[in-house]
Symmetry: C2
Subunit: 193 residues, 2 copies
DNA sequence: GTATGCATGTAATACGTTACATGATTGT
DNA sequence: ACAATCATGTAACGTATTACATGCATAC
C-alpha cells in the first residue's frame, strides 16, 4: 500500500520531468537559474536521485545519442510516476506540511496546475488557508502565554512566524478567486452574484 | 580558521543550552511543545547531536544525580560554544540565508537577544530587509520574464514566495523600531524627531 | 593552448529518520 | 497489573553535501 514515499527532491524532479522530458543537466540548470534554487543543483544530489526514480519505475530515461557531445540521458515520467505525483499534489494539506514542509507547498501547488482541475486547486487552497488559520491561533495563544516570561527577541521572532503564515493565508484566499466555481476561465471579473 | 560549522540543529541546541542549562529531555520537550517544532524532537537526532557538541567542546554536560529517576545529563555552553554561537547569530545575512536557510533566520534573531546589543539587532534587521528587497526584485523580474510562458499555477506559486518575502521585510522594518538609535529601552513612542 | 560549457557520474562523510531498547517511578 | 512519564540511548538505513573525475566541443 504505502508506495515508498519520495523525498522532496524526488518529487521536484518527478514533477519537472512530468511537465516535459528533461535530462539531469537540464534539471541542474533549472535549479541554478530559477527560483527553484531552493533545491541543490549539485550532481551528487540529482543524478543519484534520478537513478532512484528510474529504479523505482517513476521515470524512464532514454539516451539521446545525437552525435555531438557526450550523450544526454532524457527522462520522462511513467504512468506510475504520474500517479505518485498526482497523489502527492492532491493529498490534503495538514498541519505538518506547514511547520516541517513549508517549502513543498508552493511546489505542490505549481505542479497541481498540470495535473488536477480547478476543484483540486480550490480544495488545496481552502484547506491550506484553514490549516494556517488554526496554526496562527495556536501561535498567538503561545505568544500570549509567554508575554511575561519571554524576551523581546523571542517574541519578535514568533511574531515573524505569525506574520508569514498570515501572508500565506492571504495569498491562498486571493489565489482562490482564480478558481471560482462557475468561472469558465481566468480571474476576470468578480464571482457569480 | 573555519571552525567546523555546526548543523542547524546543533546551533539550535547550543543556543538553548546557552540560555540556561538543559538536559536532552528538556530539549526534546521544547521541540515538542513550542513553535520550535520545526526541529525534530526524536532522540535519534538530539542525543547524538549533543554528543557531537560535547566532543567538539561547545557544551559541557554534567550528570545530575539527584536520587529519584534515571540520572539527567545537564548541558551548558562553554566559552567556545558561546563564541561559536555569537559568530553564527551576528554573521551578516546573505542571499543564501534567504533561499536555503529561511528557517534559521528567526532562530538567529531570537538568540541574538541574549548575546548582542541593540546595534547587532539593528544590523541584522537592516541587512535582512535589504537582502529581501534585492531578492524580491530578482523574483519580480523573473515573474515578468515568464508571464508569457508559464502556467497560472506557476505564476501564483512564485507570487506566493514574493509575498512571503515582502511580509518578512515588513516585519523586519517594524521590529527595527524596537532598536532605534537613542532609544533607551522598549518600543515606546516614535523615533527621535 | 586554455578556459568555458555541455553532460555524466563517483567517493567519503556526516547527518537525520524510524524504530527499538532499557529501566525506574508514579498513577489507576 | 498496566500504562504513562521521566530519561537516555543505539542500530539500520537512506540521503544530501562536498569534492573530485572524466571527456568532448567550442571560443578566445
Amino acid at each position: 500500500m504505502a508506495p515508498a514515499p519520495l523525498t522532496p527532491l524526488g518529487y521536484a524532479l518527478l514533477g519537472l520531468v512530468h511537465q516535459q522530458p528533461r535530462s539531469g543537466y537540464d534539471l541542474r540548470r533549472l535549479f541554478e537559474s530559477t527560483p527553484m534554487a531552493y533545491f541543490s543543483s549539485s550532481p551528487g544530489a540529482i543524478y543519484p536521485a534520478l537513478d532512484r526514480l528510474e529504479r523505482g519505475g517513476f521515470v524512464a530515461g532514454r539516451v539521446d545519442a545525437r552525435q555531438p557531445l557526450r550523450p544526454r540521458k532524457v527522462y520522462e515520467a511513467t504512468s506510475k510516476g504520474a500517479e505518485a505525483l498526482r497523489a502527492w499534489v492532491t493529498k490534503p494539506v495538514v498541519h505538518e506540511d506547514l511547520v516541517r514542509r513549508e517549502g513543498e507547498l508552493d511546489l505542490r501547488f505549481a505542479f497541481l496546475g498540470g495535473i488536477g482541475g480547478p476543484a483540486d486547486s480550490r480544495r488545496f487552497l481552502e484547506r491550506l488557508a484553514t490549516e494556517i488559520d488554526a496554526e496562527v491561533r495556536r501561535l498567538e495563544q503561545h505568544l500570549a502565554g509567554m508575554r511575561a516570561v519571554a524576551t523581546l527577541h523571542g517574541r519578535l521572532a514568533l511574531e515573524s512566524g505569525i506574520e508569514l503564515y498570515k501572508a500565506r493565508a492571504r495569498w491562498a484566499r486571493r489565489a482562490l478567486r482564480h478558481f471560482d466555481t462557475g468561472a469558465r476561465r481566468g480571474p476576470r471579473r468578480g464571482r457569480k452574484p
